[in-house]
């Protein structure tokens, strides 16, 4: 994988969910999380109308172009809203109570996720957060790596 802001171009074969002939990776949810397992927060940008899609989509839902390009997000943003979960689903019991929120990234797209702060008293709308990655003790169809937010 090329380590640059432009990782690869996706050619538009919607039936190719792994890699195309040029070795490029399709814009799927699974591949988004595959990148997370490489500690990369990736989105796709439409080459035609420049809309950013996070998570990626097989074609641009704004202009319908299939000419999409993966790129690496800076992983920085501001908290739009949050909640502290006191009654967790079973796989989150060990970390409850924990915070979740929606973060507006510098690139202008929103991402939901777990927020981990050293002191939860600092949790407020508008605080700056950065992305990090963690490997989970369980897995789903999305793999076993997840991104989360923490203080810079």
């Amino acid at each position: 994988m090329v380590e640059s802001s432009k990782i690869s171009t996706v050619g538009g074969d919607l039936n190719d969910f792994t890699r195309n002939e040029a070795g490029e990776i399709s814009p799927t949810i699974e591949n988004f999380f595959r990148y997370c397992s490489e500690r990369k927060l990736m989105a796709v940008r439409c080459e035609q109308c420049e809309t950013i899609h996070l998570p990626p989509r097989p074609f641009c839902s704004k202009c319908y172009s299939s000419n999409l390009e993966w790129f690496k997000l800076k992983g920085k943003g501001k908290l739009l809203t949050y909640s502290i979960v006191h009654v967790p689903p079973p796989q989150f019991e060990t970390i409850a109570p924990y915070a979740v929120g929606v973060v507006k990234l510098e690139e202008g797209v929103n991402l939901p996720g777990v927020i981990k702060l050293k002191d939860m008293k600092n949790l407020n709308i508008g605080i700056e957060l950065i992305v990090d990655f963690e490997t989970l003790p369980f897995e789903s169809w999305l793999g076993r790596t997840r991104y989360y937010f923490k203080e810079p």
């Binding site: 809203t81 949050y82 909640s83 979960v85 006191h86 979740v100 991402l111 939901p112």
Partner: protein, 388 residues
């Protein structure tokens, strides 16, 4: 006012709550029997030409194919039947499809309704199934419970409009006071503001008493063409507007987390079709899956301006003697929320109110009613307008 689209000639509702020992088909049969028995002029075996049924969670009973299942058990095994799954808006979707089927002219009479069975599950199982109506990959996988999604909207509303936690609690107090007057409600007891405010935090700022109930139950309506309605009853209720819209599956994709955008769009369609303004609505049943959702609904349905939902409940405008009584049935909060049955159950309450059968919770001189049913975090919204 617009020519009616369809007429409700009869309606039935099972008790909502914990219906131990009853499975989906039996719960629905209770609702259907009430609808059949209260319309003696209906020869249901001959007259009902199609069945539209809402049902969300098949895992609870390892049972899909709910259409023929309940058709069989209500004595209509050969009647065409369809199941609708639109999360908590499943029977709102069934109702709307029934209206469209009548409008198409294909059928003169159809049965619509919904059913759900949840209370035999562990709470953690039921809540997990219910949360599947959001964006699993980005939301549930990232720790958002279903309450946490509505809590995030609540927090955004509090931040933007200075709405207080007490405003959410007031919705719970009001809806429990109504549910206490509804013999079919799941929890028929009044609660105090202190009780709500001091209840266990589920996902801040939402507490236990801000959340609707996990219930079993079923709802059933018989629809016909407006011009045929008086053959069957002297007091039909006419459906004069229907609207439906969608929103993104994940809340994170939305520009403004303080708005139920699909509900705004669905309401506009329904008002336009009915040719009325929000001010003409005499009572409404709105989707209070969480107390914050009722406040967002006031704003989406045009009962008040954006940001004024908190004031509306504080000023008691939506109580029984307020200018627009909301959720006189007790709502999802107190009547209960057997998700697949909820949309048609809202129509059942409007039917009772507009035919002056709502007893202690009757809104005086109710002429025009509205129901608002949403699925997931508002990704589906269905609005109907009714007149007597």
């Amino acid at each position: 006012m617009q020519k009616p689209l369809a007429a409700i000639i009869s309606a039935g509702l099972s008790k909502f709550g914990r219906l131990d020992g009853m499975s989906l088909r039996e719960i629905f049969a209770v609702a259907a029997k009430e609808a059949f028995d209260s319309c003696p002029n209906l020869n249901y075996k001959e007259d009902i030409k199609a069945i539209f049924i809402g049902h969300m969670i098949e895992s609870s009973e390892h049972q899909c194919h709910t259409g023929p299942l309940i058709g069989d058990w209500v004595g209509l095994p050969n009647t065409p039947s369809l199941r609708f799954e639109s999360a908590c808006a499943s029977s709102g979707a069934a109702l709307r499809s029934g209206v469209m089927a009548i409008m198409s002219g294909l059928f003169d009479i159809v049965m619509v309704g919904g059913v759900e069975r949840l209370t035999h599950l562990k709470t953690s199982e039921a809540t997990e199934y219910l949360s599947l109506s959001a964006d699993y990959a980005l939301e549930q996988w990232n720790g958002f419970t279903f309450p946490a999604l509505f809590a995030s909207m609540a927090k955004a509303h509090m931040h933007k409009y200075r709405t207080k936690e007490e405003h959410f609690a007031m919705v719970a107090v009001k809806n429990h006071s109504c549910g206490a007057k509804n013999p079919k409600a799941h929890l028929q007891k009044e609660i105090t503001l202190d009780k709500v405010m001091s209840s266990k935090v589920i996902a801040s700022p939402l507490k236990l008493y801000d959340c609707s109930l996990i219930s079993d139950g079923a709802s059933c309506l018989i629809l016909t063409k407006p011009e045929l309605a008086r053959k069957f009853t002297d007091s039909p209720v006419y459906i004069i507007g229907t609207g439906q819209a969608s929103d993104t599956i994940g809340i994170y994709e939305r520009d403004d987390l303080t708005k139920l955008n699909a509900s705004i769009l669905a309401a506009k369609q329904a008002y336009k079709m009915a040719d009325i303004s929000p001010k003409e609505v005499n009572l409404a049943e709105v989707h209070d899956c969480f107390t914050v959702a009722e406040i967002l609904a006031y704003e989406a349905l045009g009962f008040c301006k954006p940001g004024e939902g908190g004031n509306m409940i504080e000023n008691q405008e939506t109580c029984l003697d307020g200018c627009i009584p909301v959720n006189m049935s007790g709502g999802l909060k107190s009547k209960g929320h057997p998700v697949g049955a909820t949309g048609a159950a809202q129509a059942y309450e409007i039917f009772l109110q507009l035919t002056a059968q709502a007893d202690k919770r009757q809104v005086s001189d109710a002429r025009i009613g509205l129901s608002h049913n949403i699925g997931g975090t508002g990704s589906t919204a269905i609005v109907h307008i009714y007149k007597r």
